[in-house]
Assembly symmetry: C2
Homo-oligomer: 145 residues x 2
Amino acid sequence: MGKDTIQLTEPIVRLFQGKNFAFVSTLMKDGSPQITPTWVDIEKNNEYSILVNTAEGRIKHKNLSRDPRLAISVINGSNPYEMVTIQGKVTEQITRDTAEEHIDKLAKKYLGLDKYPGRSPGEKRVILKIKPERIFYHDFQPPIK
Amino acid sequence: MGKDTIQLTEPIVRLFQGKNFAFVSTLMKDGSPQITPTWVDIEKNNEYSILVNTAEGRIKHKNLSRDPRLAISVINGSNPYEMVTIQGKVTEQITRDTAEEHIDKLAKKYLGLDKYPGRSPGEKRVILKIKPERIFYHDFQPPIK
Protein backbone atom coordinates (compact mmCIF):
# COMPACT_ATOMS: atom_id res chain seq x y z
CA MET A 1 0.00 0.00 0.00
CA GLY A 2 2.80 2.41 0.70
CA LYS A 3 6.51 2.54 1.17
CA ASP A 4 9.24 4.23 3.08
CA THR A 5 11.97 5.90 1.11
CA ILE A 6 14.60 8.53 1.68
CA GLN A 7 14.36 9.85 -1.85
CA LEU A 8 11.97 12.32 -3.37
CA THR A 9 10.98 10.19 -6.35
CA GLU A 10 9.26 11.61 -9.44
CA PRO A 11 5.65 10.98 -8.31
CA ILE A 12 6.39 12.70 -4.99
CA VAL A 13 8.01 15.66 -6.71
CA ARG A 14 4.91 15.94 -8.93
CA LEU A 15 2.67 16.07 -5.84
CA PHE A 16 4.64 19.06 -4.57
CA GLN A 17 4.78 20.69 -8.01
CA GLY A 18 1.02 20.33 -8.50
CA LYS A 19 -1.56 22.85 -7.32
CA ASN A 20 -2.07 20.77 -4.18
CA PHE A 21 -2.26 22.12 -0.65
CA ALA A 22 0.27 20.93 1.89
CA PHE A 23 -0.48 20.40 5.56
CA VAL A 24 2.36 21.38 7.86
CA SER A 25 2.62 20.29 11.45
CA THR A 26 4.85 22.06 13.95
CA LEU A 27 5.32 21.98 17.72
CA MET A 28 3.76 24.47 20.13
CA LYS A 29 5.79 25.71 23.12
CA ASP A 30 4.26 22.99 25.33
CA GLY A 31 5.29 20.33 22.80
CA SER A 32 1.78 19.71 21.46
CA PRO A 33 1.24 19.48 17.70
CA GLN A 34 -0.21 22.27 15.58
CA ILE A 35 -1.24 22.01 11.95
CA THR A 36 -1.86 24.44 9.05
CA PRO A 37 -2.87 24.01 5.42
CA THR A 38 -0.52 25.96 3.18
CA TRP A 39 0.80 26.49 -0.32
CA VAL A 40 3.98 24.63 -1.14
CA ASP A 41 6.86 24.62 -3.62
CA ILE A 42 9.74 22.33 -4.43
CA GLU A 43 13.11 23.24 -5.93
CA LYS A 44 16.14 21.31 -7.02
CA ASN A 45 19.74 22.38 -6.61
CA ASN A 46 21.98 19.49 -5.74
CA GLU A 47 19.04 17.86 -4.06
CA TYR A 48 15.36 18.68 -3.66
CA SER A 49 14.16 21.08 -0.98
CA ILE A 50 10.55 21.66 -0.06
CA LEU A 51 9.69 25.32 0.38
CA VAL A 52 6.89 26.82 2.43
CA ASN A 53 6.33 30.56 2.50
CA THR A 54 4.93 32.11 5.65
CA ALA A 55 5.02 35.52 7.35
CA GLU A 56 7.27 36.47 10.26
CA GLY A 57 5.52 36.08 13.59
CA ARG A 58 2.88 33.59 12.50
CA ILE A 59 2.43 30.50 14.72
CA LYS A 60 4.19 28.22 12.20
CA HIS A 61 7.15 30.59 12.00
CA LYS A 62 7.41 31.06 15.78
CA ASN A 63 7.17 27.33 16.39
CA LEU A 64 9.77 26.42 13.75
CA SER A 65 12.18 29.10 14.96
CA ARG A 66 12.04 27.46 18.40
CA ASP A 67 12.05 23.82 17.19
CA PRO A 68 12.78 23.15 13.49
CA ARG A 69 11.18 19.69 13.44
CA LEU A 70 8.07 19.39 11.31
CA ALA A 71 5.90 17.02 9.34
CA ILE A 72 4.35 17.84 5.98
CA SER A 73 1.77 15.98 3.94
CA VAL A 74 0.27 16.43 0.48
CA ILE A 75 -2.53 14.56 -1.25
CA ASN A 76 -3.33 14.65 -4.93
CA GLY A 77 -6.37 16.89 -5.42
CA SER A 78 -7.59 14.62 -8.24
CA ASN A 79 -7.00 11.35 -6.34
CA PRO A 80 -6.72 11.74 -2.56
CA TYR A 81 -5.48 8.15 -2.31
CA GLU A 82 -2.17 9.30 -3.74
CA MET A 83 -0.39 10.88 -0.82
CA VAL A 84 2.99 11.65 0.67
CA THR A 85 3.89 12.38 4.25
CA ILE A 86 7.30 13.60 5.29
CA GLN A 87 9.08 14.12 8.57
CA GLY A 88 11.97 16.55 8.49
CA LYS A 89 13.49 19.82 9.60
CA VAL A 90 13.68 23.43 8.56
CA THR A 91 17.34 23.89 7.69
CA GLU A 92 17.18 27.49 6.51
CA GLN A 93 14.98 30.57 6.70
CA ILE A 94 15.18 32.93 3.74
CA THR A 95 13.79 36.46 4.05
CA ARG A 96 13.67 39.82 2.18
CA ASP A 97 13.34 40.12 -1.61
CA THR A 98 13.79 36.41 -2.23
CA ALA A 99 10.88 35.60 0.07
CA GLU A 100 8.69 38.41 -1.33
CA GLU A 101 9.28 37.24 -4.90
CA HIS A 102 8.64 33.67 -3.88
CA ILE A 103 5.16 34.39 -2.45
CA ASP A 104 4.31 36.03 -5.80
CA LYS A 105 5.50 32.88 -7.55
CA LEU A 106 3.15 30.85 -5.35
CA ALA A 107 0.27 33.25 -6.04
CA LYS A 108 0.90 32.59 -9.74
CA LYS A 109 0.87 28.84 -9.19
CA TYR A 110 -2.23 28.68 -6.97
CA LEU A 111 -4.27 31.71 -8.06
CA GLY A 112 -2.97 32.62 -11.50
CA LEU A 113 -2.07 36.10 -10.21
CA ASP A 114 1.20 38.00 -10.74
CA LYS A 115 1.15 39.47 -7.23
CA TYR A 116 0.16 37.81 -3.97
CA PRO A 117 -3.11 39.51 -2.99
CA GLY A 118 -3.05 38.69 0.73
CA ARG A 119 -0.31 40.99 2.05
CA SER A 120 -0.99 42.72 5.36
CA PRO A 121 0.67 46.09 6.06
CA GLY A 122 4.22 45.57 7.33
CA GLU A 123 4.13 41.84 6.65
CA LYS A 124 7.52 40.22 6.08
CA ARG A 125 7.57 36.97 4.20
CA VAL A 126 9.87 34.06 5.08
CA ILE A 127 10.75 30.98 3.08
CA LEU A 128 11.10 27.87 5.22
CA LYS A 129 13.46 25.48 3.50
CA ILE A 130 12.69 21.92 4.51
CA LYS A 131 14.99 18.93 4.40
CA PRO A 132 13.07 15.63 4.37
CA GLU A 133 14.37 12.92 6.68
CA ARG A 134 11.67 10.28 6.49
CA ILE A 135 9.32 9.94 3.52
CA PHE A 136 6.26 7.77 3.15
CA TYR A 137 4.52 7.56 -0.22
CA HIS A 138 1.25 5.79 -0.89
CA ASP A 139 -0.69 5.40 -4.12
CA PHE A 140 -3.66 3.23 -4.81
CA GLN A 141 -6.92 3.43 -6.67
CA PRO A 142 -9.70 2.44 -4.29
CA PRO A 143 -12.77 0.63 -5.62
CA ILE A 144 -15.17 3.58 -5.61
CA LYS A 145 -18.84 3.00 -6.37
CA MET B 1 -9.30 36.23 7.60
CA GLY B 2 -10.03 33.65 10.28
CA LYS B 3 -11.16 33.36 13.83
CA ASP B 4 -10.59 31.47 17.01
CA THR B 5 -13.57 29.81 18.59
CA ILE B 6 -14.23 27.08 21.09
CA GLN B 7 -17.39 25.96 19.35
CA LEU B 8 -17.89 23.65 16.41
CA THR B 9 -20.12 25.97 14.42
CA GLU B 10 -22.29 24.77 11.52
CA PRO B 11 -19.76 25.46 8.71
CA ILE B 12 -17.09 23.56 10.66
CA VAL B 13 -19.44 20.62 11.27
CA ARG B 14 -20.20 20.58 7.53
CA LEU B 15 -16.48 20.37 6.72
CA PHE B 16 -16.23 17.23 8.88
CA GLN B 17 -19.48 15.79 7.52
CA GLY B 18 -18.37 16.29 3.91
CA LYS B 19 -16.32 13.82 1.91
CA ASN B 20 -13.17 15.74 2.83
CA PHE B 21 -9.94 14.20 4.01
CA ALA B 22 -8.61 15.18 7.42
CA PHE B 23 -4.93 15.53 8.26
CA VAL B 24 -4.04 14.35 11.73
CA SER B 25 -0.82 15.24 13.49
CA THR B 26 0.48 13.24 16.45
CA LEU B 27 3.74 13.11 18.41
CA MET B 28 6.48 10.56 17.84
CA LYS B 29 8.32 9.10 20.84
CA ASP B 30 11.07 11.74 20.50
CA GLY B 31 8.43 14.51 20.54
CA SER B 32 8.67 15.29 16.83
CA PRO B 33 5.47 15.76 14.83
CA GLN B 34 4.03 13.12 12.49
CA ILE B 35 1.15 13.60 10.08
CA THR B 36 -1.32 11.36 8.20
CA PRO B 37 -4.20 12.01 5.82
CA THR B 38 -7.29 10.11 6.97
CA TRP B 39 -11.05 9.73 6.69
CA VAL B 40 -13.03 11.52 9.38
CA ASP B 41 -16.46 11.55 10.99
CA ILE B 42 -18.30 13.79 13.43
CA GLU B 43 -21.08 12.87 15.83
CA LYS B 44 -23.26 14.74 18.26
CA ASN B 45 -24.38 13.52 21.64
CA ASN B 46 -24.40 16.29 24.21
CA GLU B 47 -21.59 17.90 22.29
CA TYR B 48 -19.76 17.20 19.05
CA SER B 49 -16.90 14.70 18.91
CA ILE B 50 -14.61 14.20 15.97
CA LEU B 51 -14.00 10.55 15.16
CA VAL B 52 -11.03 9.04 13.36
CA ASN B 53 -10.88 5.31 12.68
CA THR B 54 -7.48 3.64 12.61
CA ALA B 55 -6.09 0.15 13.19
CA GLU B 56 -4.39 -1.03 16.37
CA GLY B 57 -0.62 -0.75 16.16
CA ARG B 58 -0.43 1.89 13.44
CA ILE B 59 1.88 4.86 14.11
CA LYS B 60 -1.06 7.21 14.79
CA HIS B 61 -2.54 4.76 17.29
CA LYS B 62 0.76 4.08 19.05
CA ASN B 63 1.56 7.78 19.26
CA LEU B 64 -1.86 8.74 20.61
CA SER B 65 -1.85 5.92 23.17
CA ARG B 66 1.41 7.38 24.53
CA ASP B 67 0.42 11.06 24.23
CA PRO B 68 -3.21 11.91 23.42
CA ARG B 69 -2.49 15.41 22.13
CA LEU B 70 -3.14 15.95 18.45
CA ALA B 71 -3.98 18.49 15.79
CA ILE B 72 -6.44 17.90 12.98
CA SER B 73 -7.19 19.96 9.89
CA VAL B 74 -9.73 19.75 7.09
CA ILE B 75 -10.10 21.80 3.93
CA ASN B 76 -13.15 21.93 1.70
CA GLY B 77 -12.42 19.81 -1.39
CA SER B 78 -14.40 22.28 -3.53
CA ASN B 79 -12.81 25.41 -2.03
CA PRO B 80 -9.49 24.81 -0.27
CA TYR B 81 -9.64 28.34 1.16
CA GLU B 82 -12.35 27.16 3.54
CA MET B 83 -10.46 25.36 6.26
CA VAL B 84 -10.52 24.40 9.90
CA THR B 85 -7.64 23.46 12.14
CA ILE B 86 -8.13 22.07 15.62
CA GLN B 87 -5.86 21.31 18.54
CA GLY B 88 -7.22 18.79 21.01
CA LYS B 89 -6.95 15.42 22.67
CA VAL B 90 -8.09 11.86 22.21
CA THR B 91 -10.41 11.32 25.18
CA GLU B 92 -11.56 7.78 24.39
CA GLN B 93 -10.57 4.80 22.27
CA ILE B 94 -13.45 2.58 21.14
CA THR B 95 -12.71 -0.92 19.79
CA ARG B 96 -14.48 -4.17 18.74
CA ASP B 97 -17.83 -4.26 16.89
CA THR B 98 -18.45 -0.53 17.24
CA ALA B 99 -15.13 0.26 15.57
CA GLU B 100 -15.59 -2.40 12.86
CA GLU B 101 -19.06 -1.06 11.99
CA HIS B 102 -17.74 2.47 12.02
CA ILE B 103 -15.06 1.80 9.40
CA ASP B 104 -17.80 0.37 7.16
CA LYS B 105 -19.79 3.57 7.72
CA LEU B 106 -16.74 5.57 6.57
CA ALA B 107 -16.28 3.30 3.52
CA LYS B 108 -19.88 4.14 2.64
CA LYS B 109 -19.25 7.85 3.03
CA TYR B 110 -15.96 8.01 1.11
CA LEU B 111 -16.20 5.10 -1.35
CA GLY B 112 -19.93 4.33 -1.60
CA LEU B 113 -19.22 0.76 -0.45
CA ASP B 114 -21.12 -1.22 2.22
CA LYS B 115 -17.96 -2.86 3.52
CA TYR B 116 -14.52 -1.35 4.04
CA PRO B 117 -12.34 -3.00 1.36
CA GLY B 118 -8.94 -2.38 2.97
CA ARG B 119 -8.95 -4.83 5.89
CA SER B 120 -5.71 -6.72 6.53
CA PRO B 121 -5.86 -10.18 8.14
CA GLY B 122 -6.12 -9.85 11.93
CA GLU B 123 -6.59 -6.09 11.75
CA LYS B 124 -8.43 -4.56 14.71
CA ARG B 125 -10.05 -1.21 14.16
CA VAL B 126 -10.08 1.56 16.77
CA ILE B 127 -12.16 4.72 16.92
CA LEU B 128 -10.24 7.69 18.27
CA LYS B 129 -12.70 10.10 19.87
CA ILE B 130 -11.33 13.63 19.75
CA LYS B 131 -12.27 16.53 21.98
CA PRO B 132 -11.40 19.89 20.39
CA GLU B 133 -9.73 22.42 22.66
CA ARG B 134 -8.71 25.15 20.26
CA ILE B 135 -10.45 25.73 16.93
CA PHE B 136 -9.44 28.03 14.11
CA TYR B 137 -11.80 28.47 11.16
CA HIS B 138 -11.01 30.38 8.01
CA ASP B 139 -13.15 31.01 4.94
CA PHE B 140 -12.47 33.31 2.08
CA GLN B 141 -12.85 33.36 -1.66
CA PRO B 142 -9.50 34.31 -3.15
CA PRO B 143 -9.39 36.30 -6.38
CA ILE B 144 -8.51 33.44 -8.74
CA LYS B 145 -7.68 34.21 -12.36
